[in-house]
C-alpha cells in the first residue's frame, strides 16, 4: 500500500518536467478516447453479436486506459486535457468514420488495430522506459494491453488478406495514405502546419529531449512497429518501404 506521502500529488515545483508529461499524457488520453469512440462505432456495424460485444468491451478498455492516464497525470500534479477534435486526431477519426459509413469492418480494423495501435504500442513502450516511477508503469501496462488487441486483430486481418491479397492491399494502401500520412505528420520534428490543438501551450516536441525522448524516436519506433505488422500480414517489404519513404517529414 502506498504511504500518504506517496499519495500526495506532486506540484510543478516537485516535478520540473511535469508540463512535458502533461502534453505527452494529453496526446495519449486523446488517442485512447478516439479509440474508444472508434470501437463504439465499430460495434454498431458488426453483424455478429459476439463481435459487437467484443467491440464494446474494447471501447470500455480504451476508456479505462484514458482514465488511467488522466489519474497518472493527477499523481504528478497536472490536469490532462484531451481534444479529440484536435486537427490530426479529427482527421484520423474522420477516416475511421468513413469506413463505418461504408460498413467496412476490415477497414475499421486496419485503421484502429494496425495504424493507431502501431503508434500507441511503440510510443507507450518508449515512454514507459523513460517516464519516472508510476507514470512509466502506467505506460508500460497499457502498452502490454494494446499488444493483446493487436494480436487478436492480426489473426482476422491475416485471414482476410490470405483470401484476397490484392483487394486487401489496395484498401490498406488507400487507408495508409489517409491515416498514416496524418499520424506521421503528428510526429514530424516540427508542427509545420501550426498548433496540433492538443498540447497545452506551445508544441511539446522541441522539449521532449528533456525527458530523453524525441519526436524522431517516437516516429521511428512507431513506423518500425507498423512495418513489422505489415510484414506479418504478408505485404511485400519493397512495397511498404516505398509507402514509408513517401510519408511527410
Amino acid at each position: 500500500m502506498e504511504s500518504l506521502m506517496e499519495m500526495k500529488p506532486l506540484t510543478e515545483c516537485d516535478f520540473p518536467t511535469a508540463p512535458i508529461w502533461q502534453d505527452v499524457l494529453a496526446q495519449a488520453v486523446t488517442g485512447e478516447l478516439v479509440a474508444a469512440m472508434n470501437y463504439a462505432a465499430l460495434a454498431g456495424i458488426c453483424d455478429d453479436p459476439q463481435e459487437a460485444e467484443e467491440a464494446w468491451e474494447h471501447a470500455a478498455i480504451e476508456r479505462a486506459h484514458a482514465a488511467a492516464f488522466t489519474a497518472a497525470g493527477r499523481k504528478i500534479g497536472v490536469d490532462v486535457v484531451s481534444n479529440a477534435d484536435g486537427k490530426h486526431w479529427k482527421r484520423v477519426r474522420e477516416a475511421f468514420m468513413r469506413c463505418v459509413a461504408e460498413h467496412d469492418v476490415i477497414g475499421c480494423l486496419i485503421v484502429q488495430e494496425i495504424m493507431l495501435e502501431s503508434f500507441a504500442l511503440a510510443s507507450y513502450s518508449r515512454v514507459a522506459i523513460v517516464a519516472p516511477g508510476s507514470l512509466g508503469k502506467v505506460f508500460g501496462a497499457i502498452a502490454a494491453d494494446e499488444q493483446e488487441h493487436a494480436d487478436h486483430a492480426m489473426c482476422i486481418l491475416k485471414a482476410e488478406r490470405d483470401a484476397s491479397p490484392q483487394v486487401f492491399d489496395d484498401k490498406l494502401h488507400r487507408l495508409h495514405l489517409e491515416v498514416m500520412t496524418t499520424l506521421a505528420a503528428m510526429l514530424t520534428k516540427e508542427c509545420k502546419d501550426g498548433h496540433c490543438e492538443v498540447c497545452q501551450s506551445s508544441c511539446v516536441k522541441p522539449s521532449l529531449f528533456e525527458v530523453n525522448l524525441s519526436a524522431a524516436l517516437l516516429r521511428g519506433a512507431s513506423l518500425q512497429q507498423y512495418m513489422k505488422m505489415l510484414d506479418a500480414l504478408g505485404l511485400p517489404g519493397e512495397v511498404t518501404l516505398a509507402w514509408i519513404a513517401q510519408l511527410p517529414v
Binding site: 513506423l223 512495418m227 510484414d231 517489404g237 511498404t240 519513404a245 517529414v249
Partner: protein, 367 residues
C-alpha cells in the same frame, strides 16, 4: 524522371530464386535510394531525416531483381537491405548488426529464396558461421567471395597487361591479407609475382599464411604496418577499407597499380597520386542484363557502367542461373585457385565478366 515506385502494386508473391543481402555503403547512398522511392513529387529527404529513419527500418526487400544469362536461363530475386547504419559498421556494433543480418536472412528464407548472397559486411559478420543464420531447408547461403576474388585477380592481371607490366617482376602488396578475400587473392597471385608483402592486424594469422606460402617457395614479407616492408610495392590490392588512404598511397611505388577491393571503397586518385592507377576491384558485369523493380538502376549499383554489381552478389546470381544451389563460398579463408577458376567458368557461361575499369572519379583510362 518517372516515379520508380508508381507501378508497384502489391500482388501475389512472385517467384524468388535468389536473394542478395546488402546494406547502404554510405548515408549519401541511402539518401539516393530514399529519394528514388519517394518519387519526384516529394522533396528529397534531408540528411538528418535519413539518419533518423534508416535505423528503424526492419530488414526488408528494397526491390525485385531479374538477371538474364546469355544462354536461356533467367533468374528472379530480391535485393534485401539489412539497413545497417553506415556509421555503425565497426566492431562495437557487431551484435546488433548480426541481428540485422539474421533478420535479413530470415526475410530471404520466408520469401522462398533458394540461394542467398551475403554482400558487403553481411558476409564479414557471418564469416563462415552459417549456423548463425536461421535454418531454411530450401535455402543455401554463399558469401560470394570466390567470384569477388576472381574479379580482383582478373582485374589486376588485365590492368598489368594493358600497362605492359611484367607480373613476374612485380612486388604485390595485399592489405587485409588474412581475410577471406585477401587470402584468396594471395593464393591466386603469389605464385605469379616476384614477391608478396602481406599486411593485416592479426600477426599469428599472417605468420601461418606466410609459412604456407614459403613452403611453396614464395618470397614473402609480412607486417602490420605499411612501414614494415623492404621495398615499395608496384602492385597493391586493398582487401580491407583503409582509414587513411593517403598513408597507403605515400608508401607504395609512385606508378603503382592499386586495386581498391575494400568495402566500402575509399581510395580515390588525387593530385598526390596522379601517377598511380587506382581502380575498383571485385566488380563484374552481367551482359545479359540486370533489371530492378522499382527501377533503381544506377542508384543501388551506382557505377559508371550498366549492369555492374559486386562479385559477391553476382556469385549468387551465377550459381542460380547455373542451377547450382550450394554454399559455394563459406568464408574463413577457404578460397583456392581451383574454386576461383570454377566460379569464373560458371559466371562466364552466363555472360558475367569482369566489369570495365573505374574508380571514384569515373572510368579509368590508360595512362
Amino acid at each position: 524522371m518517372d516515379c520508380p515506385v508508381a507501378r508497384i502494386a502489391p500482388s501475389a508473391a512472385p517467384q524468388v530464386d535468389f536473394a542478395l543481402v546488402g546494406h547502404p555503403e554510405s548515408w549519401s547512398a541511402a539518401a539516393e535510394v530514399f529519394s528514388a522511392l519517394r518519387g519526384p513529387e516529394h522533396t528529397p529527404l534531408p540528411d538528418d531525416e535519413i539518419r533518423d529513419i534508416l535505423p528503424w527500418i526492419p530488414p526488408r526487400a528494397v526491390c525485385r531483381v531479374a538477371a538474364k544469362s546469355i544462354g536461356d536461363a533467367e533468374a528472379h530475386g530480391l535485393y534485401i537491405d539489412s539497413f545497417i547504419s553506415p556509421d555503425r559498421l565497426d566492431a562495437a556494433c557487431v551484435r546488433e548488426n548480426l541481428t540485422r543480418v539474421r533478420a535479413a536472412a530470415a526475410y530471404a528464407i520466408k520469401a522462398g529464396a533458394k540461394m542467398v548472397s551475403l554482400g558487403g559486411f553481411s558476409s564479414i559478420l557471418i564469416e563462415g558461421n552459417f549456423d548463425q543464420l536461421p535454418p531454411g531447408h530450401r535455402t543455401v547461403f554463399t558469401t560470394g567471395n570466390t567470384l569477388t576474388v576472381a574479379f580482383i585477380v582478373q582485374g589486376l592481371e588485365k590492368m598489368c597487361a594493358q600497362q605492359g607490366r611484367n607480373l613476374r617482376q612485380s612486388t604485390l602488396l595485399v592489405v587485409g591479407a588474412t581475410g577471406d578475400v585477401g587470402s584468396g587473392c594471395v593464393r591466386c597471385l603469389a605464385g605469379k609475382v616476384r614477391r608478396v608483402q602481406l599486411i593485416a592486424r592479426n600477426v599469428e594469422r599472417l605468420r601461418r599464411l606466410a609459412v604456407e606460402l614459403e613452403s611453396e617457395g614464395i618470397d614473402v614479407e609480412i607486417g602490420t604496418d605499411l612501414g614494415d616492408f623492404s621495398e615499395k610495392a608496384g602492385l597493391v590490392i586493398c582487401a580491407a577499407s583503409l582509414t587513411s588512404s593517403s598513408l597507403l598511397l605515400s608508401s607504395i611505388a609512385p606508378d603503382a597499380i592499386v586495386c581498391d577491393a575494400g568495402y566500402p571503397k575509399n581510395l580515390s586518385p588525387d593530385a598526390t597520386t596522379s601517377r598511380a592507377t587506382i581502380f575498383f576491384g571485385g566488380l563484374g558485369q552481367i551482359t545479359g542484363g540486370l533489371t530492378f523493380d522499382p527501377d533503381l538502376r544506377g542508384i543501388l549499383n551506382h557505377h559508371p557502367f550498366p549492369d555492374v554489381a559486386h562479385g559477391c552478389l553476382l556469385e549468387g546470381i551465377a550459381l542460380t542461373l547455373e542451377g547450382r544451389f550450394e554454399s559455394f563460398s563459406r568464408g574463413r579463408g577457404a578460397i583456392t585457385p581451383k574454386l576461383v577458376e570454377e566460379i569464373e567458368m560458371i559466371a562466364a557461361r552466363h555472360g558475367i565478366y569482369l566489369a570495365p575499369f573505374f574508380n571514384g572519379a569515373g572510368p579509368v583510362t590508360l595512362q
